[in-house]
Symmetry: C2
Subunit: 289 residues, 2 copies
């Protein structure tokens, strides 16, 4: 039991943070000072804690931030106006909006109000289009994090049978695109999928972003699979992913832990994207990669 | 043998053409006259024949067209300039560029030069992004055609295990998006897929757009599958799809013929998109659907 290799994210996250901080210096030498603005529409303590971490991350790097938390019953118009105002503010160089949004807020209307050049999570439709067309201005942080984590641990993606659980525009779709771009055969599963276990057992690379604790147990995976658990579900006593670690580890070749797997790299990718959009807007050459 | 149901495209294509012609009348009443410009970079007789059909289709509807065929060794700059010039011409309301382009021409550079509001095949990155985000300005003609064909024959998409063979940006990716949006579980296969037959045998909806005659034979499908053959491959004696019809029909519940399946609907969708972008640009209300 517990024979599976641990695909830890902290080391690769530190490495990427170092790259981002070098470029941050280049930015400042060129007179460009990043400022990240965030919008959260929720009063869930877990959502607020995740947002705290994003601001802490920037504070540690000496990056100014502005944070607007709106109550879940804020009017849609107020949310749209908040995003548009931050987007129009010249001192804000990077803008992040937490999804999912409450039902009464149209996510697409929000996406459109993020200026493409300040978009740090590939939310604006024009940026999504460039990503699909193979010429991204900015990559979504979660799929960037998964790619870097697998590459850092020398886990091959090409030629694998990948299964992605989750089809959301923000996470599932970019993860599927990543697998396809890197030459995996990818199956996208979701709430309407019949016999999820049959699909996940056919995977030799399983990426789960469903947000459901215990969704994937040992009976749902085949021997030798690599499991990437993107979900961070807050439960009493801490956070867990979608994977039942004990039973999956009896079969998996490798698995990302939660916490300490994709999460830290997601944060580092966000920092890197904040610096990158600021540098791009200021015309600072990319000397660090 | 040959027990499979024929999912013919001619009837649904006629119906859609009728809708498009009604809206064309609305356009003209409002003083908006469509003109389709096409760009082909090839001297392959088959490519030229397909392009002929697009112009014939418009001519039958009384729509002006402009056609620019460039030799396959045309410089990339010449291709970009041609597309940009047509895009800038105020009398051109709709612009279509045939892909694939020769290797030395950057497809993304071409896509960017199609004005989004004249784009009839969802080529511009901003339009791709809107499609993925769930708010399409225009849908790619091939995936529109497949959706209409299946709907016209009351073939359910939701809940199926769909396999799409082909991952190109123009056809494979939009087909996969269609299946996912309509609640199928979708697997995208391509040239790097291991054991394609194992994947296609797991499908109860198989969509092939590989462009390889005979790629899918009876040994590669399971009983009861619905097969959608998007490819139109020119061979001596006519056109064929990717499917070996005789052996597949012994197992499939239904199959689209080639010719006469997806093809006619693709043409009707192109006509409808030409009228739609012209009407949208002129602010003509959509009264016909």
């Amino acid at each position: 039991m517990a024979a599976s290799r641990c695909l830890a994210g902290d080391g690769p996250a530190d490495a990427l943070r170092g790259v981002a901080l070098d470029r941050l210096d280049d930015c400042r030498s060129a007179g460009a000072d990043p400022e990240l603005a965030t919008v959260l529409v929720s009063d869930d303590p877990a959502d607020r804690t995740f947002m705290d971490r994003k601001h802490d991350l920037c504070a540690e790097a000496g990056i100014d931030t502005r944070r607007i938390d709106l109550p879940p019953d804020a009017t849609a118009e107020r949310v749209y106006r908040t995003v548009a105002d931050l987007g129009a503010d010249p001192s804000v160089t990077a803008l992040f909006v937490q999804v999912p949004l409450p039902e009464h807020v149209d996510e697409l209307e929000v996406r459109r109000r993020i200026p493409p050049e300040k978009d740090v999570d590939c939310f604006h439709p024009a940026n999504v289009g460039r990503l699909v067309a193979g010429d991204p201005r900015v990559r979504p942080v979660t799929s960037r994090a998964v790619e870097r984590l697998l590459d850092a641990h020398d886990v091959r993606i090409a030629g694998r049978d990948a299964v992605v659980v989750g089809r959301g525009t923000a996470i599932g779709v970019p993860l599927a695109q990543l697998c396809c771009r890197r030459d995996a055969t990818v199956t996208v599963c979701h709430s309407r999928t019949r016999d999820l276990g049959a699909k996940t057992r056919a995977a030799d690379l399983l990426v789960t972003a469903a947000g459901t604790p215990g969704l994937i147990d040992g009976s749902m995976v085949s021997g030798g699979v690599v499991v990437v658990d993107v979900s961070v579900n807050r439960v009493s006593g801490g956070v867990v992913g979608d994977v039942d670690a004990a039973s999956v580890d009896e079969k998996a070749a490798a698995r990302t832990p939660v916490p300490g797997g994709v999460g830290p790299l997601t944060m580092a990718c966000l920092l890197d994207n904040v610096v990158a959009v600021t540098a791009d807007a200021a015309g600072v050459d990319d000397q660090s990669r």
